[in-house]
Symmetry: C2
Subunit: 349 residues, 2 copies
């Protein structure tokens, strides 16, 4: 019987962060693709678009006028999924299958800069530093609100990721409950911390930094890696090296180092298929429930859908929805491809 | 303070099948959509396509020739994600973060009929009965293989769901391990059965049949409902009324009744936006590990992505990936819309 070869044989990998498995089929990248192709947008965007509801000075759907902002700009989402109003609730009948509870929260939009045409990789490091400081301010302000126990910072980039306006921006959804994925992560981090007295993600990162094969970008304070258990073809995670539970604990050096990693990683992403690389990204960090959370370690996920080219994505569908996530290229191979790409943006060459 | 109104106020609902929550924002369906639209394919397909690798008598990528099949036709996937070869494996180092294990399995393709142009809702009930019998045969044959402990039957319909050939077909991935979603479901079903001595999904269905508001199609043996905790806008689940753990336990009447529900449900789907409605569907039933599984109840999930029209889908992206699934229309409203639609296919009117 042949011995297991992780680079060739179908296998499952375990994700200790959320206690789930992923099916890896290294050989499957070879199959031809005859399915749907995504439209590639090659139209260069203007610096300012009079029709854009996020550009400075323009009017939004609800009639409000954006100020003439010069760095980043935050406002309340005009079509928020969450509302701030407190709602009286009597609870659910014991054992009922119809278990629901009102959820209070705040949704905000964070425009990265007045420039309609500058995505993260094309911004100067200073501009990215400015976004990080905005995230810190929002985490503090929202987290200080009594009923807000979790602040989810995220970005949907590209129309294929449901982004409805190309003006570079992210969102923040802050709410009372820990969302499902965060609760799962916290359970795992907590169980590990209680058992070992150390931090799961710090211990994991140390192992990754020894073997190096999944590291994409690294500096003194952060590393971006393709997790051993990544599900998306070019999924990455930025993890802080020091034990940091939340973004507001960054030193000035760490803010600068994080900005640098963000710029380098997203530049490599764009260079991979010479396209503005779509993804959803999001920061996971300690809840704002007033408790100490030594089990947490600051990290940021990037889930990009593209697989083979600027127009062919990975579909997480039938088997993936009913069974489990499945990938066609090993995380080691993806990391190698990303690592070997230039840190200079292809448009600037 | 206003009292909680489940039809108006943002809230979370609990899914006891997989122990996860979904965020429901009833008011959010009102927001305008300026984002990506899916291409709508309005080209009528021929009954037979000489270029199609699934049509009877045609040659596939690997050089094999399809037989002149007359009902459904099953073959081994030419680019399978799983392989049958047994692989020697020494196990993982204790406590390692790099936890992986080889996975053995078989992937098959099930062509629904020789007709290149007939999707499930457009087939006669007899043709659907025939597919169900094929699924029964495959469940038995694959399940009888020693190392196969789970048989996942599913369909990806429509290019937006990653389907790369419009010839109506489904797939079967059979493997050694219980996939993540199935394991989660089994854990919940088992815990409920151990506690109550009854079946979670049967008890749940009985509650749904009392209130009726989420029922879409019903006959003597099955009901199709929009689950109270549905995440996709028009997600449904078909559940058997009798306690049936696997598809091979169907009586002849149940086979016919299941075919009828499949036809009616998918017809309503097509009628909703007068388009061939995309979805991923999949059957969840008892594992084939040789154990009794009284905790299981046969059911089939439908996860369709469309939200507002034939071209506007729901994007499960940033918040959904980092936080939790979120929906913009209540399950009750979706069920009402589907229930009120004709059971005659719009093309046949
Ligand atoms: O096997 P197919 O139809 O080529 O591929 C499709 O279904 C598979 C199983 O859900 C997915 O892994 C693929 O991403 C999808 O494109
Ligand atoms: O808020 P947006 O950008 O309009 O909407 C986008 O992001 C949201 C949060 O991930 C999703 O719920 C929507 O489906 C998506 O289209």
């Amino acid at each position: 019987m042949r011995q297991f070869d992780i680079n060739e044989d179908p296998h499952r990998r375990y994700n200790p962060l959320i206690n789930e498995w992923v099916l890896v089929s290294p050989h499957r990248a070879k199959r031809p693709w005859q399915g749907q192709k995504e439209a590639i947008n090659t139209v260069a965007l203007p610096e300012y678009d009079p029709e854009c509801y996020l550009c400075a000075g323009n009017v939004r759907a609800n009639g409000e006028v954006n100020p003439p902002y010069e760095s980043s700009f935050v406002f309340e989402n005009d079509f928020a999924a969450l509302k701030q109003e407190a709602i009286a609730f009597d609870g659910n009948a014991e054992g009922s299958f119809f278990k629901a509870q009102p959820e209070r929260g705040i949704s905000r939009v964070v425009c990265f800069s007045p420039r309609h045409d500058l995505t993260l990789p094309e911004m100067e490091v200073d501009g990215i530093v400015n976004i990080i400081k905005t995230w810190q301010r929002e985490y503090t302000d929202l987290g200080n609100i009594d009923y807000i126990n979790h602040v989810q910072i995220f970005e949907n980039k590209g129309s294929v990721m449901g982004c409805s306006n190309p003006h570079p921006h992210g969102q923040i959804w802050a709410q009372s409950s820990l969302p499902t994925q965060v609760q799962k992560t916290q359970n795992s981090l907590k169980a590990y911390f209680d058992k070992n007295g150390t931090n799961l993600l710090q211990d994991y990162l140390n192992e990754e930094l020894k073997v190096k094969e999944r590291v994409v970008v690294e500096n003194d304070h952060f590393a971006a890696i393709v997790p051993f258990w990544a599900i998306w073809p070019f999924e990455t995670m930025i993890i802080s090296k020091r034990h940091i539970t939340k973004i507001t604990d960054f030193t000035e050096d760490e803010v600068a180092a994080f900005a640098e990693v963000l710029k380098k990683l997203t530049t490599k992403y764009d260079n991979l298929f010479e396209t503005s690389f779509p993804y959803s990204s999001g920061i996971h960090q300690a809840p704002t429930d007033g408790e100490e959370h030594p089990e947490w370690q600051f990290h940021m996920h990037f889930y990009p859908p593209l697989l083979r080219s600027a127009s062919v994505k990975k579909f997480m569908v039938g088997y993936e929805m009913m069974g489990e996530s499945q990938r066609d290229i090993t995380p080691e191979k993806s990391a190698e491809m990303l690592r070997n790409l230039s840190e200079v943006h292809y448009k600037q060459k």
